[in-house]
């Protein structure tokens, strides 16, 4: 659905559900995944519907994912880091979050 205007700097790798995704250092996790063609970031706790980021600035919470073992991280506000482990979040996934 998206492409990068330039792809000269894809020097970082994160893992989505175990699969490597190349990204540009400085990308948010959400941007890197959208550029890699990912459309389902999480499913909703109520109906299990798929969700993709809607706002990209931290307000809609549709980009919630489990990042480095922690659920409910807003992927649009987390910057990629080499080797980061990202998992799609199913349902609440909200263990340990207030």
């Amino acid at each position: 659905m998206f492409r990068r205007l330039w792809a000269d700097d894809l020097s970082a790798t994160i893992f989505l559900d175990g699969r490597p995704v190349l990204c540009r250092p400085g990308d948010s996790v959400a941007a890197a995944l959208l550029a890699a063609g990912v459309e389902r970031f999480r499913t909703t706790p109520v109906s299990g519907a798929d969700r993709m980021p809607y706002c990209m600035i931290g307000n809609c919470f549709d980009c919630l994912m489990e990042i480095d073992g922690q659920a409910d991280r807003q992927a649009c506000l987390v910057t990629v880091a080499e080797g980061m482990q990202v998992c799609s979040q199913f349902g609440t996934g909200s263990f340990g979050t207030l």
């Binding site: 659905m1 998206f2 492409r3 990068r4 205007l5 330039w6 540009r24 400085g26 990308d27 948010s28 941007a31 890197a32 959208l34 550029a35 459309e39 389902r40 909703t44 109520v46 109906s47 519907a49 798929d50 969700r51 993709m52 980021p53 809607y54 706002c55 990209m56 600035i57 931290g58 307000n59 809609c60 919470f61 549709d62 919630l64 922690q70 409910d72 991280r73 807003q74 506000l77 910057t79 909200s94 340990g96 979050t97 207030l98």
Partner: protein
């Protein structure tokens, strides 16, 4: 490893034009200032990633245009000012006593400030239409954020729908970037633009802005991007967006699309002031709540000021001046400058704010959010988190749920992760429509704290590290009888 900051004279939340301008000026005046921002680099929504994009990527500079480039000077002045800067840092609570709950790098800590300026800016107005939760539907500003932050643009059939200047700006930017724009659906009401224009005083001093807008429309027309004036929009698809349908010219249209970008203007991001129960007012022109402020941005809560779009939408240029007014007032209250100096320095800033307000009044009337306000079908989801539909809410209201917080706890609408950011305005309007009462008496949600997800582990650590922190979470400060 970052060291938690325990104290500062002035804390600023938000690194957009308002926060950057406020922090730079306050620090220049000798106030010990720290700016906290969720983003990795200065710029806010409008000037996101301005420093890196100015250094390289000519292509992107051309796409984003000259107005965007103006953000660099702001970021540079901020960097030179000596203000402290905490990027990638979320503020999850502010107390009326000036305590801030900070979350950074997986750690939570508390800091105490002598004064707080909230410069949390705006967000796109949620635009509830049938199917708006499907993957493939996003805000137009969200697509713009992808462009600015990472140079990422749509490459599948894309439709932009909505109202207001940002709709056309983003359409123009996407066109310049070579994205496959398959349609623009303008949802604004015919005639409002002309009415607004007639009411715009000193037309000539805004001619530049009007011409700029016109040039986008001309460019889109030349590129033969199909244009519709439409309403009753719906996003269609089973598990993702497949098509967009809408009424235009007396019939229903259906356009296949992979990406639908929606935009119905922006509204203040008032989550912190609402959680503080600062007094708020309903702005009829903007169809949104904003905190009530004096001419310096001070709220009804003693130590807290608001600057920029968070205090009411007035745009990026105004945000700079409103940031400086709040900084001058903070410097005065903190004893760095006299009242006379504050007032003198404020004059040019105030004039600039007044000028921008005139243009804003025109935009408000030309792009009143008709569609988003009036049309909410029963099967449309109002609350994205808990998937509550307008129909379910209407049914509960007719059963006698006439208090917005009662409706919230019963329907769970507004109880999800976004804590009402996406539905509060919609529900308030829906209630006032159904009850035929004004929106002020409907009020706003009482917010649950923290306003950002905070892992229990972080909170536990916080409790161990700082016993004083205990009262921070459960307390709702401010006057509880004061409905916002």
């Amino acid at each position: 490893m970052t060291v938690a900051r325990t104290n500062c004279e002035l804390a600023i939340v938000g690194g957009g034009p308002a926060g950057l301008a406020a922090a730079a000026l306050a620090a220049e005046l000798g106030v010990e200032t720290v700016l906290f921002d969720e983003q990795p680099t200065p710029g806010g929504q409008v000037y996101r990633n301005i420093e890196a994009n100015s250094r390289r990527h000519d292509a992107l500079r051309d796409i984003l245009g000259g107005d965007y480039a103006k953000g660099l000077a702001l970021a540079e002045r901020f960097r030179r000012s000596g203000a402290g800067y905490e990027p990638l840092t979320a503020i999850w609570q502010v107390s009326a006593g000036g305590k801030l709950g900070v979350s950074q790098n997986g750690k939570a800590y508390l800091t105490k400030a002598g004064r707080v300026i909230l410069a949390t800016g705006a967000m796109e107005r949620p635009f509830p239409i049938p199917g708006w939760t499907l993957p493939g539907v996003m805000g137009a500003g969200a697509a713009q954020t992808l462009m600015k932050a990472s140079g990422i643009v749509p490459d599948r059939p894309t439709i932009i729908a909505g109202s207001g200047p940002l709709t056309y700006l983003v359409a123009f930017q996407l066109l310049t970037a070579g994205a496959p724009l398959h349609g623009i659906i303008d949802t604004s009401e015919k005639g409002l633009f002309e009415t607004g224009l007639a009411a715009l005083p000193l037309l000539s001093s805004f001619a530049g802005d009007l011409l700029k807008g016109l040039s986008w429309i001309v460019a889109l027309g030349k590129a033969r991007v199909p244009f519709f004036r439409g309403r009753n929009l719906a996003a269609e698809g089973v598990s993702r967006l497949e098509a967009v349908s809408f009424d235009s010219g007396g019939r229903r249209h259906r356009l296949p699309a992979s990406l639908l970008l929606v935009h119905e203007g922006v509204v203040p991001n008032n989550q912190i002031t609402a959680s503080l129960r600062c007094r708020h007012v309903w702005d009829v022109g903007q169809t949104a709540w904003h905190p009530q402020t004096d001419k310096w941005g001070a709220t009804s809560t003693e130590l807290i000021a608001v600057a920029g779009d968070g205090a009411g939408i007035a745009g990026a240029r105004s945000a700079v001046h409103r940031g400086r007014l709040a900084a001058l007032d903070a410097a005065c209250r903190l004893g760095r400058i006299s009242r006379t100096e504050r007032d003198e320095r404020a004059l040019p800033e105030r004039r600039a704010v007044q000028r921008e307000n005139r243009f804003r009044a025109f935009l408000n009337s030309a792009y009143h959010p008709t569609e988003a306000v009036r049309w909410l079908a029963d099967d449309t989801i109002a609350c994205r988190c808990e998937e509550v539909t307008a129909g379910e809410l209407r049914a509960l209201i007719s059963e006698g749920f006439t208090d917005i917080n009662q409706l919230k706890s019963f329907s769970r609408c507004g109880m999800g992760q976004c804590q009402g950011r996406m539905c509060a305005g919609t529900v308030a309007r829906l209630m006032s429509d159904s009850l035929k009462s004004d929106i002020e008496s409907v009020g706003y949600y009482r917010l649950r704290l923290p306003i950002k997800p905070l892992p229990v582990a972080q909170l536990a650590e916080l409790g161990n590290a700082d016993r004083d922190s205990r009262p921070l979470l459960p307390v709702v400060e401010g006057d509880p009888s004061q409905r916002i």
